[in-house]
Amino acid sequence: MVNLLELDKLSFRYPDSPRKAVVDFDLAVSEGEVVVLAGPSGCGKSTLLRAINGLIPHMYTGEYSGDVRVAGSSVRASSMRDLAQTVGFLFQNPENQIFMFTVERDVAFGLENLGVPRPEMRRRVDEAIDLLGIENLSQRAPHELSDGQKQRVALAGVLAMRPRLIILDEPTSLLDPKTAMELVDLVASLRKQLGTTFVVVEHRLDLLVKVADRIVVMNAGAKVLDGTPRDVLFGEEADGYGVSVPAVTRLQKMLAKDGLAPDDRLLSAAELASTVERKGA
């Protein structure tokens, strides 16, 4: 079976930079997976994301070696037009990806650009608005909305294009924890309903641990860790790479070393508490 996304020894150097932003990166993501990409600031995550959706090399040129394949086709050889229909990108700042005066028109933006006929466009726009639960916002102007609402609008615009893979760049950075949790639940539900694959760049791992199938850690352009959340967070190296290990997991790790807690799966606060009590009694 062909992986939906394959990075094959990808390396990239920006023209005015002495060192490579991405170094020899290998990655395979299968359809329906949710992969979290983490790493310290400046490690090359943004560059990597742009190499996946085609902005590199189509909009940004530089020294490019290796290959990125989405659904079997090389990104380098595909046009942005085709890539835009397979890979959606939700950028970090929701404001700067909403173009139109009304929410509904903006959700249709990508479809208008592709020349989709009006009846089909209408259907897809309504569907995307419905999936994101923003029907009551469809006639509003974007500057009147909260950050969380703007983000949903931007995501609806991406979903309307029906991509198989969606990239989310630090989606929770501007949100408070409850709104962030709602977004994570939304990602889980979209994955379930539509089978969409997600690559999420995120610092706040405690929010994403429930929904992530895999965590990939990057440092100085190279991949340093790649495994299930349990494997990565329980590993020795996590702290060294500035990965935010959630407090409860940190405790579980310590206790597991002394045999007071299991080390084969990640426990929630409540689960860890009952485990500790059982062992203690």
Binding site: G39, P40, G42, S173, P177, G242, L251, A269
Partner: protein, 269 residues
């Protein structure tokens, strides 16, 4: 030091952003203000330096009424680090950027030079002295804005969402910086919705909801009130949730994983 007396603030469009806020922060305290986006945290902060004036009620900073004083004057005593550094960086070089506020506040040239060097040193930015502030990375820009503030040595430092977009290493450094500020006697107010970041600092916690203060006390007490936190849409620190899930537990929640492990392995006494 900072005193809010029954402050209400209503926007031009009729929305009430602050509703009867009464709050007193003494010199040297470290206070965290938490609450969901839109609860009024930033509005509250803007009242301290007079960027916003109360519709009713008064705000006193060191006995000075903010309604009759300019923001520039109040800022001499209260430094505010806003969320977005790109809203203030504009100078040709980092040292010029750091000198900007000092000059505005009337510091003589030799003192400006001294403070700039000190600030650059403290935040590890000496190598960028002559660089343009616009080419610094996001994390470096945040450090620069903080350095700019500390250069004029205000008694109060307010940080508005300092952890947004920061990785774990940067957050740890920030915790250290806040502790350092507290230990040098400064009053520190941190507005943040990152509860896990705040928890190790064990500050006084003020919870806001819909423009009102719904809780105010020590971190260990406030963060234990599950229902109140839920209704204010504030997350509970993981270690507190863990603590509350235990049937047998010590007097107060664990501050860090180490403390929790010690208690558990010490026979849970």
């Amino acid at each position: 030091m900072i005193e809010f007396s029954d402050v209400t603030f209503v926007h031009d469009n009729g929305v009430k952003a602050l509703d009867g806020i009464t709050l007193k922060v003494d010199a040297g305290e470290t206070v965290a203000i938490v609450g969901e986006n839109g609860a009024g945290k930033t509005t509250l902060v803007k009242h301290v330096t007079g960027l916003l004036k109360p519709t009713s009620g008064t705000v006193l900073v060191d006995e000075v009424d903010t309604r009759t004083t300019s923001t520039a004057t109040l800022s001499r005593k209260v430094g505010v680090a806003f969320q977005n550094p790109d809203h203030q960086l504009f100078s040709e070089s980092v040292e010029e950027e750091m000198a900007f506020a000092l000059r505005n506040f009337g510091f003589p040239p030799h003192l400006v030079e001294q403070r700039v060097s000190w600030g650059l040193q403290l935040f590890g930015l000496e190598e960028y002295r002559k660089s343009s502030p616009l080419v610094l990375s996001g994390g470096e820009k945040k450090r620069l804005t903080l350095a700019c503030i500390l250069a004029w040595d205000p008694g109060v430092v307010i940080l508005d969402e300092p952890t947004v977009g920061q990785d774990a290493i940067q957050k740890e450094k920030l915790v250290g910086t806040i502790r350092m500020l507290g230990s040098t006697g400064k009053t520190v107010i941190v507005v943040s919705h990152d509860i896990e970041f705040l928890w190790p600092l064990q500050p006084r916690v003020v919870v806001m909801k819909s423009g009102r203060i719904v809780a105010d006390g020590l971190a260990k007490e406030v963060m234990a009130k599950k229902e109140m936190l839920e209704s204010a849409r504030v997350a509970q620190p993981q270690l507190v949730s863990f603590y509350q899930a235990l049937a047998r537990r010590p007097g107060s929640p664990f501050v860090d994983a180490l403390e929790a492990r010690r208690w558990i392995e010490g026979g849970q006494q």
